[in-house]
Amino acid sequence: MEILNWMAKFGTYAVMAGILIFALGVVTLRNLFHCALCLAAALIGTAVIYVVLQAEYLAAIQILLYVGAVVTLIIFAIMLTEHLAETTIRQNNSQSPLAIAGLLGFVALLTALILKTPWPITQTALKAKVSVMGLGKALMGAYAFPFEVISIILIAALIGTVVIAKKDDPEERS
């Protein structure tokens, strides 16, 4: 049992390292299509992390919405705008050293903060189980208002997307 537990921990850290490697691929690869595939891999790895944190419903939603919908949308946009053969175009601007220096400082500061903060970890929270039924009840009860706001944002964004992306009719402009 002990060895199983240890292996599961090791596997989780391996998944984390894999996500970071794929994320580096997302921001450094030259071919945008490969970037989108790396993003899909990183998102699937994140779903694994959700399962480890016992948020199985969120993992399913992550796979469905992110890997299923958002990545498909991004790949569509890449296909419609890029010519895949033209990978010789420079993809990055010249701010890279500055960005790396600033981000190293940011990461160092926040790491020190994370390690110093006494997190109030409670055993009751660790033992609590979140069921889909509990999520639905909270969504319809305590969080009904943000839920409605989200639905309004969704419908507004959908209409806006259609309006922006549709072709302009020349006759309409008279």
């Binding site: 580096l24 958002v70 990055n92 601007n93 926040l110 970890i121 969704l154």
Partner: protein, 104 residues
């Protein structure tokens, strides 16, 4: 059930967020910037779920707000990519530094 130390998860999501910020700062392609923003939102989601797992009094809260973040990320991607397509149709470019119509 595996219990990782909370700081390890937080540092992992911090690194993921930093990689996303790097991409958003450095990429010239607008679609590349959008992909980096998705990475950042993902890192924030991991933080929300980790906190709701380890510290929260009502364990549903973090997961519900992670759901909201996922919904907002989907709308952001849809609207952003629609703008990119409209821009490509008019200007024939997706490089952020070539879109400087409002710059003086």
């Amino acid at each position: 059930m595996i219990v990782l130390p909370l700081p390890h998860i937080l540092i992992f999501s911090l690194l993921l967020f930093a990689i996303g910020v790097y991409g958003a700062l450095v990429r010239r392609n607008i679609i590349g910037i959008l992909i980096s923003i998705e990475l950042m939102l993902n890192a924030a989601n991991i933080n929300l779920i980790a906190f709701s797992k380890y510290t929260s009094l009502s364990p549903e809260t973090g997961q519900i707000f992670a759901l909201f973040v996922i919904a907002i990320a989907a709308t952001a991607a849809a609207v952003g990519l629609a703008i990119v397509l409209a821009l490509y149709r008019v200007r024939k470019t997706v490089q952020a530094n070539e879109v400087n119509l409002l710059k003086w």
